[in-house]
């Protein structure tokens, strides 16, 4: 693997960027890291001290000394931690060494990369810093958080890692992107006001006001304050998380950018979306708005503050047609509305008195689709070959009725694909047919390194006796393409800032700039009003 390194060198030296990560050298995080990470500790100490301080001058002096001591100790520890944290890009992996006392050296295989996030919390934004998170299937939290890098550095490193993970030249410029949807703030606010918890909060306030007037006492409010605060906090958090939500598409996969205070920029490479769910709460139906949630392996569900709500939303709100357009990009060639769905038998109304008419499932040659819900409509989609296991279950009542529920297990996430209360024998047929479809789809599945799919389509899984797929799927990036003209010409030389994207988009300026304004026209949000 010496060629790629040589190939990359002239281009790197030509581009006047200070950070060139592909050199295999050790790098440290940004020197301001201790400051950006330590402020929470300082704030916590400050909070505790101000709670306990007595009003005397001596008390304030003691507080000041303690605070200064805490800051100094924290800074020293932060400096040590910063000094002992270093990373480098190896051939097909990222090495990350951390720890002052307990050293830890972690190696993240890039071909197993599930997503790359650039996260910028408020303080880090003020300092011009960003955290880079590599998500790999299996961990409970982010596998290799690089906190913090300079914003520019994080962008470049992300591009480099994605290029490596995609199997193209390491110095390939960041793939161009096309903005698919941009969610306007007013639509987000309206969608949240029409959600269940907001309605509940408004009704609660109305009830409290009328109760207070009726009983001539304001104290009725006091008991409800914690509930109201919790409601307001969660609503604001959802708003802040999804503020200015932009969905863009590039050769490196979907790019999601959002956040008011903490800004997050997610990149989910092609084929990494395991399953998705289109949700329509009752009050959104009038405008035909939907929300799209996804399962991505590596985005740990509900993992504390990094929970599902932050990372597993593909679209917080959009008109259904727009959302289906985005879904069509995630699952190329899939038309969800065209999938023929089969409903439930009439006897299912004994266990599903309202919803039995609305539950249906079906499959075409690409995806399995299951929809359900009378008031809140949900539609699960999972691509064949993404199913981890199939389950069939039938409880005591459903067993008497001859009904069973089919589960198509996906990686952990908000989407739990299932087709409830089918006729039991039909359900078993669905399981068997789906097992067969998954088997076929897995055999035909593309390589983990998504760009290499364009180079060597013929070598992938030609027969039942497969050699180890990883070896097959990893041609060295410098190998000449045998087939049609490859989108990423491997010829060395400085004249190659051509984007590796094979897409139909006209060549746009490379680089991680702002999205092309032309893409904004296709947001499709205009007719939402």
């Amino acid at each position: 693997m010496s060629e790629p390194g040589e190939v990359s060198r002239p281009a790197v030296s030509e581009r006047p960027e200070p950070p060139h990560h592909a050199d295999g050298e050790w790098h440290r995080l940004h020197p301001l890291t201790p400051l950006a990470r330590g402020w929470t500790v300082v704030a916590a100490v400050l909070f505790v001290l101000t709670q306990n301080v007595s009003g005397t001058a001596a008390g304030w002096t003691a507080t000041g000394v303690l605070l200064a001591g805490a800051v100094v100790v924290g800074l020293i520890y932060g400096l040590f931690s910063w000094w002992f944290t270093r990373y480098r890009i190896e051939e097909d992996a990222l090495r990350l060494d951390t720890g002052v006392i307990f050293r830890r050296s972690r190696r993240v295989r890039l071909d197993r990369l599930q997503a790359v996030d650039v996260v910028r919390p408020l303080i880090a934004r003020l300092l011009g810093l960003a955290e880079l998170r590599l998500e790999v299937a299996g961990g409970s939290s982010s596998e290799a958080p690089l906190a913090y890098l300079s914003e520019r550095n994080a962008q470049v490193l992300r591009a480099t890692l994605l290029a490596r993970a995609a199997g193209v030249r390491p110095d390939a410029p960041e793939a161009d992107e096309q903005v698919l949807v941009r969610v306007p703030p007013d639509a987000l606010i309206r969608s949240q006001l029409l959600s269940g918890s907001a309605i509940f909060g408004i009704l609660l306030v109305i009830a409290l006001i009328s109760g207070a007037i009726g009983l001539h006492t304001p104290f009725i409010f006091i008991g409800a304050v914690p509930t109201l605060i919790a409601l307001a906090t969660s609503e604001f958090r959802a708003f802040s998380t999804h503020f200015d939500f932009v969905v863009a598409e590039s050769a490196d996969g979907l790019r999601l950018r959002h956040g008011l205070l903490e800004h997050r920029s997610q990149t989910v490479p092609p084929g990494r979306v395991q399953a998705l769910r289109i949700v329509q709460p009752l009050l959104w139906r009038r405008w035909d708005w939907v929300k799209v949630e996804v399962n991505v392996a590596g985005y740990a569900p509900g993992g504390g503050e990094d929970g599902t709500s932050r990372t597993s939303v593909l679209l917080p709100v959009a008109p259904r047609a727009t959302a289906l357009g985005v879904v069509g990009r995630v699952l190329p060639g899939v038309d969800i509305d065209a999938v023929a769905l089969v409903g439930l038998p009439v006897r299912a109304r004994w266990v599903r008195p309202i919803g039995w008419r609305f539950a249906a499932c079906g499959a075409d040659e690409r995806v399995f689709v299951s929809k359900r819900g009378r008031l809140r409509r949900e539609l699960d989609v999972i691509a064949h070959g993404k199913v981890q296991s199939l389950r069939l279950s039938s409880g005591p009542i459903r067993r008497r009725l001859g009904l069973a529920t089919v589960h198509l297990d996906s990686t952990p996430g908000p989407v739990k694909v299932h087709a409830p209360d089918r006729d039991a024998v039909e359900a078993r047929r669905i399981v068997e047919a789906q097992a067969e479809r998954d088997r076929t789809a897995r055999r035909a599945a593309g390589p983990e390194r998504w760009m290499t799919a364009h180079v060597q389509p013929a070598h992938i899984h030609t027969g039942p006796a497969q050699p180890a797929p990883d070896q097959v799927d990893q041609p060295p990036p410098s190998e000449p393409p045998p087939g049609p003209p490859a989108p990423s010409p491997p010829t060395p030389g400085p004249s190659a800032p051509s984007p590796p994207t094979p897409g139909p988009s006209a060549p746009v300026q490379p680089g991680p700039g702002e999205p092309a304004p032309a893409g904004a026209e296709r947001t499709g949000f205009d007719h939402a009003d």
């Binding site: 070959g385 981890q388 005591p396 069973a404 297990d409 952990p412």
Partner: protein
């Protein structure tokens, strides 16, 4: 069972049953649970002079034991598995009947576990894990040779058919 039976039919001739020693282990567990409880109940009732309550407790324990005894039997009969060319099928459950189909290529790792009582009776439990947390493929009550064979075969097949996520 009636119509539902067809939905949980084995793919081949019949399901491979688990060892009857599983039944023994579960019955011992049941007795170990019920005996101390009933003894404590009866002794306490005697101590407080409420003989009637003591009799009721004893009868309840016997009834629970009898129900549990036959429930263990039915539950044991409900377990079954089948190895196909590309996936493993496991059925279980009396009240809630469940079937799980795990493709070998989806397997992340295989666990073989055995508690003290299970070791004493020489049975083990094989559990398959996929990338989905919901996958619930456990086969209890395998004789050690079968558990080891299954583990090795699953691991080998998993490697041969492994696929990316």
């Amino acid at each position: 069972m009636g119509g539902i039976g067809a939905a949980f039919e084995p793919p081949g001739e019949q399901w491979v049953r688990v060892s009857s020693r599983l039944r023994t282990v579960r019955r011992i567990t049941l007795l170990l649970l019920l005996l101390p409880l009933s003894v404590i109940g009866v002794v306490l009732a005697q101590a407080f002079g409420a003989t009637v309550i003591g009799v009721v407790v004893a009868l309840a324990a016997v009834a629970a034991g009898a129900i549990g005894w036959s429930a263990v039997e039915r539950n044991w009969r409900a377990w079954g598995y089948a190895e196909r060319a590309d996936d493993l099928l496991v059925v279980r459950g009396v009240l809630t009947r469940r079937l799980v189909v795990v493709p070998y290529g989806r397997m992340q790792f295989v666990d073989v576990t055995a508690g003290p009582l299970e070791r004493r009776f020489r049975i083990a439990r094989v559990q398959l894990h996929t990338a989905a947390a919901a996958t619930d493929a456990t086969i209890p009550g395998l004789v050690p040779a079968e558990a080891a064979r299954l583990r090795d075969r699953l691991a080998a097949l998993g490697e041969a058919r492994s696929a990316g996520l």
